[in-house]
Symmetry: C2
């Protein structure tokens, strides 16, 4: 298949490119390099089946030209502002990078007869609730523009699938960790440690607790969902096993970084920023019924990701 991977030089996108190339697909990896990095895909650029295109999805003429020349069979739409905190006060950032990029992609797919779409969605569409979040949980009351923009994108994809004959697979990602991350809690802590070796400031009270998933386990989930989805608009959840608190992550980071004497300081409050969902419970039985299992417990995923990030550079 001839596949467009948007955001393909980003954290998760680049791992997905690894796996799709291993499967023998021909890839057009598109990225505006706003969060993505060329070095994340440097090891792929020698492959004759891998094509990197620096392009902003909101540049309509450039995107159209790419669709005309490449003749895609499918699109994996991974491009996004994945930094939730960055969009907290900016009404436009997530709207443009998450939702409007999706609308552009859908419009091109319809115009060029490309039927198959994978979309990277998020648990943040649900907002803050103690309920067990299965795929059909409601109400959906996002508390971040990130969550709102991804929910909006899902809604447009639903129209594409139900009205224009498309087939879409939506996987709602949890917190994902691993090498090549461009932001996120581990990345932030390592940067802070680099800047100030005496202390590590943690946003919130450290009790925020989430089911972290290692990035390659997530890519397994993407491909299981992609291969086995059996509806025109198929939605799945994936998450790590168990939970890990931010306090635990801070402790693992200072130990792994060889700085056990670092003082860990909490700014207080139950969340890192307005729009942060401090904890959620995620029902992944639908995807597990298709055969997916994460290989790492949440805290093991965090440990492994820190080791990989330290080995890989950040």
């Amino acid at each position: 298949m001839r596949i467009l991977v948007t955001g393909g030089a980003g954290f998760i996108g680049s791992h997905l490119c690894d796996r799709l190339l291993e499967r023998g697909e021909e890839l057009w990896c598109v990225d505006n390099l706003r969060l993505g990095r060329r070095r994340n895909i440097a090891h792929l650029e020698m492959s004759p089946k891998f094509h990197f295109v620096e392009l902003d999805l909101l540049d309509q003429p450039a995107l159209k030209s790419l669709f005309v020349t490449a003749g895609f069979d499918a699109v994996f739409h991974m491009a996004a502002n994945s930094d939730i905190a960055a969009g907290t006060t900016n009404f436009r950032l997530d709207l443009e990078l998450n939702q409007l990029t999706t609308v552009e992609v859908l419009e091109m797919m319809k115009a060029h007869g490309v039927k198959r779409l994978f979309f990277a969605s998020t648990s943040a569409i649900f907002g803050e609730t103690d309920a067990m979040l299965h795929e059909d949980f409601a109400p959906l009351e996002p508390i971040s523009f990130y969550g709102a923009s991804k929910l909006a994108a899902e809604a447009y994809i639903s129209v594409f699938a139900h009205t224009f004959g498309g087939r879409a697979v939506v996987l709602r990602f949890p917190n994902v960790v691993g090498e090549r991350a461009t932001h996120g809690v581990i990345y932030d802590f390592l940067r802070k440690l680099d800047a100030d070796q005496g202390k590590l400031e943690v946003l919130g009270d450290g009790n925020q607790s989430k089911p972290y998933l290692y990035v390659r386990d997530l890519v397994d989930a993407v491909l299981v969902a992609w291969d086995k989805a059996n509806a025109p608009f198929a939605v799945y959840h994936a998450a790590g096993l168990g939970h890990t608190s931010v306090r635990e992550i801070a402790e693992i980071v200072v130990a792994a970084a060889g700085r056990p004497d670092t003082r860990i300081i909490f700014t207080g409050g139950d969340r890192g920023w307005p729009g942060d969902v401090p904890r959620f419970r995620y029902d992944t039985t639908r995807l597990q019924a298709l055969g997916w299992r994460p290989q790492h417990h949440s805290t093991d995923a965090v440990r492994y990701a820190i080791d990989r990030i330290l080995a890989n550079g950040f």
Copy 2:
């Protein structure tokens, strides 16, 4: 209160202006007159508490200037592309007129400390399902850009309410009928009768069946929800009692128009256009618990609306 009513010269917006003025509020009725009509509010323009402003909500400087000078206490955001069929193939129409107008309004409200919002949403956010649609029903799989854009707008309003200290009331409208309508099934039929007195072409097989609500019953619902909502992000459904099929509406229209010999011709298929939801069942118990009751059965509402439209001109 000093209230901004967006889309205030439109079908439902103008009826809402009537009622808000009766309650003694001071209104700024904003409309770009794309679907709205000056004559819908002509009877209000003599009131010292009614101010009409011709303005497009996507014109940021003009909207900002209005917020600065008027000092609003609340916003009723009624402006929308309410013609679902018109947005069927156009990715931008509903996006811009339904969702991006909402984002503009929210941004202005946040910037100017306006906390209270009413939003006109729709049953179309749910897509096509046989289920009884209560407010927390899921999955939400819209099949029209109209439904997708309204769902997207709700998501942004959720962030406004949960993160920025706003208070929002969302009422998901059913099919609404009455005088001053600018489109819709009755309006379409009357226009077609005017153009060709011998026959009336009906899109679909005529069996599409919906709980039509008379516009003043809807405005009652708006005000009950507004007065009694008890959550920062409060969502309600309103609908007429019972259902009316498109075939029945066609028969009532030809009788009321004094053209009983008109041949009614059905184009066939279970819906009027791609994105039309042919039937839905709407649970309105949440709003009824606050004291709201529609005054008209669905088919009575249709009859009454046709009489009022014929008396009022269309």
